[in-house]
Amino acid sequence: MEVTNDQFLVTRIDRFARWAQKSSVWPLTFGLACCAIEMMNLVSPRYDSSRFGAEVFRASPRQADLLIVSGRLSNKMVPVIKQVYAQMPEPKWVVAMGACASTGGIFDNYAIVQGVDRVIPVDVYVPGCPPTPDAVLHAVLRLQKEIASGHARAGVVARDA
């Protein structure tokens, strides 16, 4: 049987691939500051992110899909986060957890980057200082929904109007 560019087959496979991706989003440990403590709560038994597919938090960017930036990004840390993000294989996504990662938070000063999206593309922003683990979980689940729908693509959430 000749395998043609059958619309039905390709979309089915795409859907399957996206389902597999969203069900096994493995985050990278990138706790920078206080938000990291709430992220620890997220993996602890009460909130337990692993029941949603984030089974392990990988320490190596080579093995991770999701970069959860939890905490303040300082100017000195910028080359590091760029390198870590570059080392993550595609498809990869970024969650800016907390006020500091989203916009710099209360730290409008010489040391802190005013939002991680000035350096790397962000898919989901989570407000809070720190956000409760529920809020981060909501963000991860929302990201999963976007991945399944095909909108979140390799670090860019493209929304149809």
């Binding site: 100017n75 000195k76 409008d108 000063n109 010489y110 040391a111």
Partner: protein, 217 residues
């Protein structure tokens, strides 16, 4: 700060009835070179003003007096006072006539003029002062002569400026780039502070009494 029943001050030594300096301070002052002056105890901690040139001999004496720990080295910017800066050292003695339950504390304050931003390094005497002095250099620009590795520690290596100085903008280089507010409408924080004549800038900084004026005063 607070005394306990035995009438001992927070530094641990029994209080002198006339309220004069404890014995070890008197010994230290007697052996010290010129340029050392006792100040009012700061929050109960004995405090000495030491000229930069006298710092190394005094530090050696302090170490010999049993102060085995250098807790921290910090900088202060008293703009617009002259001398502009001060480097403050805190020491702790846990043995000798002190114990871990009743440690002895000492504070040294070294005035640093803007024209001569240099202080001898005590890193050879207390290794813990190494990084603390690097921090003061990074954030204030005060050089420590004889330091084994004097370079920035908190800010990126190629950063320009010393952020904790009073004339450094809070938002850093961004503040200069994002200045789209007309000149007449920008708020000059430094001028406002000087005009307000805050207590420390009026009293001259050194040897002041414990601060009894709180936020509500």
């Amino acid at each position: 700060m607070h005394e306990d029943q035995a009438g001992r001050g927070p530094a641990g030594a029994p209080r002198d009835p006339e309220g004069g300096p404890p014995g070890w301070v008197r010994e230290l002052l007697a052996a010290a070179p010129p340029g050392v002056q006792r100040l009012e105890p700061c929050h109960g901690i004995e405090s000495l003003r030491v000229e930069p040139d006298a710092l190394l001999p005094v530090a050696t004496l302090v170490k010999a007096a049993g102060f085995t720990m250098c807790l921290d080295v910090g900088g202060v910017d008293y703009l617009p006072r002259a001398p502009r800066f001060e480097v403050v050292y805190h020491f702790l003695a846990l043995s000798g006539d002190a114990s871990p339950e009743r440690p002895r504390r000492l504070q040294l304050r070294v005035p640093v003029a803007e024209e001569r931003l240099e202080v001898p390094s005590i890193a050879a005497i207390w290794p813990s002062a190494d990084w603390a002095e690097r921090e003061v250099y990074d954030l204030f620009g005060i050089r420590f002569s004889g330091h084994p590795n004097l370079r920035r520690i908190l800010m990126p290596d190629d950063w320009e400026g010393h952020p904790l100085r009073k004339d450094y903008p809070l938002r850093g280089p961004r503040a200069l780039e994002e200045q789209d507010v007309p000149l007449g409408e920008r708020f000059d924080f430094l001028a406002a502070r000087v005009a307000q004549r805050l207590p420390h800038s009026q009293r001259g900084g050194l040897g002041r009494e414990p601060d009894r004026t709180g936020p509500g005063a």
